[in-house]
Symmetry: D2
Subunit: 405 residues, 4 copies
């Protein structure tokens, strides 16, 4: 929330002149939380910078020795990122400045050459895209784990019949095989969408500069290959246009997945109310009340349900930031980092927690059996009459008279 807390420290006003204070306030406002969020990007910026350094040697901007020195330093940073020892200070504002400053600090004039042939714009795009593709892979793995949990749940409880609901009212007999299969199949379709999103993201923006190319014969295919992209994103203006557009697509995918979890959590919360009791949750998944000693509340599932809304709102935010604006980079786009990163964190964690829920949750067979009251079979009665030759509408009216008074 750093982008918001300007002019909080009154004491600062004594030490500084008014205009220094104002400059400081503007800096804080402008930097936002990037220096914190960018910790997740150090690894990816190193990968991209390594590819870039190799390419610069290939086209003769750097010597082989210079390129090696830069790469060695970048690999060190990548290692330090993994163990948390590479830090980005608020003054550096973002990961890209922090890395470039480190390179200059260690390698002097050579460090000043790393930014040749690229702009901050394509550098950010590239690091983010590598990060997104990795996160999508993580989310896919989490979905696979959840599907495995669902399958196990289905094996144990799949044949248990319980009352299926429509309009939040008992309707016809269902089974926990059908119920859990609903989520399984829905996730399978989500993965189809995920694969397409990944394929669309899989194009390297490095070398597009600030959206109008670079006046240097950079070898874009080479860096794309080194980073593992299938192809380059050819049009530099499209590379910039895709900032916001791709994030919207990503967040749609994540909220699409969270939607499944929201509805499933809603089912579990409902089927677990003591009045029904079809599903039982272990104590670890419930929380007490500070005033009512008897309570066992399904907080974990409520939070999964609630966090759908955080991801959906993030989607909306990302989708609307750049709308109505002309093409080309605007600083507005910076505001997309936080909602995207937050949504990846929420979606992967929620999917993981849901797979534990499916492992630990049990079905109360007696409660289910007791709930299978006669009227659930009214449709079967209709079809008995249909099989005897009565037109459907007449059979329906016939049985309806019995149940609806």
């Amino acid at each position: 929330m750093r982008g918001g807390t300007t002019r909080s420290g009154k004491s600062g006003q004594k030490l500084w002149s008014e205009s220094t204070q104002i400059n400081h306030d503007i800096e804080i406002f402008t930097a936002g939380d990037d220096y914190i969020l960018d910790r997740y990007l150090i690894h990816y910026d190193c990968i991209a910078s390594i590819a870039h350094a190799k390419m610069l040697a290939r086209i003769g901007i750097l010597t082989a020795a210079e390129s090696k020195k830069l790469i060695k330093e970048l690999k060190t940073i990548r290692v330090q990122a993994a163990d948390g020892s590479f830090l980005i200070t608020p003054e550096q504002e973002d990961v890209h400045t922090a890395i470039e400053q480190r390179l200059i600090e260690r390698l002097g004039d050579l460090g000043k050459k790393i930014h040749t042939g690229r702009s901050r714009n394509d550098q950010v795009l590239t690091a983010l895209r590598l990060y997104y593709i990795d996160m999508l892979d993580l989310v896919e793995n989490r979905i696979n784990e959840l599907q495995a949990s669902i399958k196990k749940f289905g094996k144990k409880y799949g044949r248990v019949v319980y009352p299926g609901y429509t309009h939040t009212r008992k309707a016809m007999p269902s089974s926990f095989g059908m119920w859990s299969g609903m989520l399984y199949d829905s996730l399978a379709d989500d993965k189809r969408l995920l694969k397409t999103v990944t394929r669309i993201l899989d194009q390297s923006p490095l070398g597009t500069g600030a959206g109008y190319g670079v006046p240097l014969a950079v070898d874009r295919k080479h860096t794309a290959e080194l980073m593992g992209f299938s192809k380059i994103q050819n049009n530099p203006m499209y590379a910039q246009h895709s900032r916001g557009k791709f994030e919207g697509m990503l967040l749609h995918l994540l909220s699409h997945i969270m939607y499944d979890l929201n509805r499933t959590a809603s089912d579990i919360i409902f089927f677990n109310i003591p009045e029904l009791g079809y599903l039982q949750l272990p104590d670890d998944f419930t929380t007490g009340s500070s005033i009512m000693p008897q309570k066992k509340n399904p907080d974990v599932l409520e939070l999964i349900r609630a966090r759908y809304h955080t991801v959906a709102a993030s989607e909306m935010q990302v989708r609307s930031v750049a709308v109505n604006l002309i093409s080309g980079y605007h600083r507005d786009l910076q505001e997309m980092k936080e909602p995207v990163m937050k949504s990846f964190a929420i979606t992967s964690a929620s999917t993981y927690i849901m797979s534990i829920v499916f492992q630990k949750m049990t079905v109360d067979r007696d409660a289910c059996a007791a709930a299978l009251t006669d009227e659930l079979y009214a449709t079967d009665e209709v079809y008995s009459l249909v099989k005897e030759g009565m037109p459907f509408r007449d059979a329906y009216r016939n049985v309806a008279q019995k149940y609806r008074k």
Copy 2:
């Protein structure tokens, strides 16, 4: 807006008793605008009902003769739908009742058999899905047309250099080839998403009943094949769950496409302001002012820009209607028809209008040339120094001193 206008007519209260009036008000509130919107679905419900009738004969519920009679009647309705002569009255509420009533009216008891083995729920799902797939096809064609227009525009004006912008400020030289290519490539990626969405939709829900199957051995594969679906949506609960979920995916796709048009319209409006004048619009695309006789306003492009928001809001509406609810059909889902249909209409029309814009819009070569001021080439100056061996950061600072006073 029919769902809203209850109790407007004071006169009605004289003729009716209070309770009749209340019942009437409730009916109006409940029916909403479905009887109007459903005109678009007559064709698709006929296709689905024909497949259903064939299948009922195949499994022995209908005789071959009965099935033929029903199909003949349904084909007549389909023809009448095309010329607008099949009407749905407010009292019938929706297309499904209207068609069933017609069949009963014409065929008596036989008409009462058509609903055997299905529920209103899977019937609606099926008609909508057929409609969606057709509309997606239409949208794809419109995108193809737009891409063709862009290509022609690119051939005529592709080499014209104009100032590319970042932060709404002149940045580096661009060309109308690069500019129009941005939209072309973006639409190409949209079509990849469109194809995946179509593939996910391509599963028949017919035979899933009200979400818990039908107590009759319906042949789902047969109806799926007759309607042209590649496979069946096996899990009945998933068929219901996909109502809302699929619509959200569809609307995301449509707003994804509209986003491209919104940004492109923003560019054209800006590049066309007299102070820049890079792009020129023919008079048919502009509108005057009621107070200022000199004005030529780009209303058509403003409306394309604005209608993005209608589609985006529709996406949000559809995505949130069923959230936090348990599984199984709820009447809430009915409210999705209007936003989806409206969004298809907007997206296909906007794409079509944009393809005309690209056909008719011209580039003012002189205005572009005049705008290519020196500072646009500052980056080239930097790279001249880099090529002479100066580290990038030093070259950058060197040139910066010249331009930033």
Copy 3:
């Protein structure tokens, strides 16, 4: 949905030249549905035009006789609007053109004078604002009716104790007096917001022209008084800026009210499930199923619940249309009419229907009594121990051991 359906008629292409066809398509796209929506505005545009004509006479632009003639004609239109006989054709596009054309048709050159001293922009703003203020009044009346129904319900059933829920689980004893009082009090606060919104809207925009005033000494205070506004909206640019801003505020208010109804409908749907049965709905409020003859579904309440989302999405649409745009009118703003009008219709109808629900709904005292199980009184047990001197936390733990195994 007219704004969407261009190029549907293939036959048209034979009769017309290609360019005529294109012009026609653009016209349809541009006009949208305004000619339909504007029926609601005829009355208000007449009021504003009458005030305008009177003022033009006062400042000497019209003679007293001219003014009278115009006013007489405008009053006739207003009467015809009420009985539906004044029509706006698609060609006229909107109410303002339709009225001006009628005046010219009837009064010749005199009709051409009515637009002196105003722009279409302030004309639209004025008609809409008069309409909004009337609609807010209607909504307030509907809230008053609903509160009256709640009071009656409270008198009948207020003392009936039922289990209050937290986390969708029984928590502590509540009463239907407390439950219905929640909505009553919430609506009371809504009305405080409504009054402020009305007060903010209560400033006349007539005379602000296209947002930069009119080069004529119009008497704005006079027209404001004639139309019943408390003051004028002095700054012409603010008058334009308030388009979109005021609509956002209005729609927030409406969705704020619908939020109360959404949550109340959710309660009624839940308390009415047969497993609980605390509340009972008369048959008129329920609907059957096309496959399950036994079902009684609470469709009316589900639709109230669902229509919150339509209003909330409308709010979002209206709020985002003009965002990121510079000041001054844009055609984009036209797209706000439909969501605002729809939301007024939904909110007033839903409030009205909810007041009938509160009149007709009954409480099942036996079901409530049976549901008041022991553990609901656990908090009372804690407080018995507290009153005996045990610290709260110890008392809590003591009772918790009894209930949580």
Copy 4:
């Protein structure tokens, strides 16, 4: 983003058993970031707890001496909160546990008595509401500062005439007095809304327990007075219902204010493009490009523009979290803290930064004068003819012929 990062540390899995790991993961998922966000609430929870302790003495639950001891400790915590020395650990999860634990740690059994007569639910509601009211006061002050800056700007530049725009095209002469007055007046109306929101919030929820009251004769009026509330929120269920409802209203207000800033920032960015140059920004408000040495970009204004979307998305999130749910507390509501706090921070900071912008920004009188081209006066020409007696429509057509070729 803590709520998202479960199972990140692989190493933990070695040290812990699987089930310990799972419990830990669930804890992290459940706690979210509350332990961080709640730092802002320490002060307010202390105020509420002090009032509560005084009241408990008054009704005889605590002795005067006990009450004093608790209050002394709470005042110490409040002081420590101000200098940052009172910490909330992740294990404590939230401010309320942290404070209660401290009291027990220092005062033993007496500490266990502080929670008598309240629930975590009304405790949270109360602390948040006190915080909200304080933040609204801060926002109002910031608006006052901004209005003062606008007034000064208006004094300096108010008479400078520049071309007013409609449809992003020059329309009629405007002045920077009119332009800045637009924001001034709009903020004045925002403050009217702010005052109403504050008044609606100004009702004490303390003593409503978990939404169904407390089985103890707490003196709610007394605590309300001690905390400075004008009245109590009488209905306990309404107190719970207002969680989410009030936050939605708050966030609407904040996004309503941010909307003004978004549109104003859009104007400044546009009027400052070198092609127009009406407004000039000092260097502190602009940022360079990493590739183009000549660039001066208006990042600060772009970020104000962009952060509207963050607040608008927060509004939507808060508005949708609890929708479709039955009454009574749900854990879902916890997810509202972050968007509300973030939005207060953004709105107050953006308003402050905008007031600096108005202090430092200058008007380029020459650029404005040069832009006042003839056609801007076309409407004046029309009115010259009108004054000579020509009907408006004819005068309009007459002048139009001159300008529209």
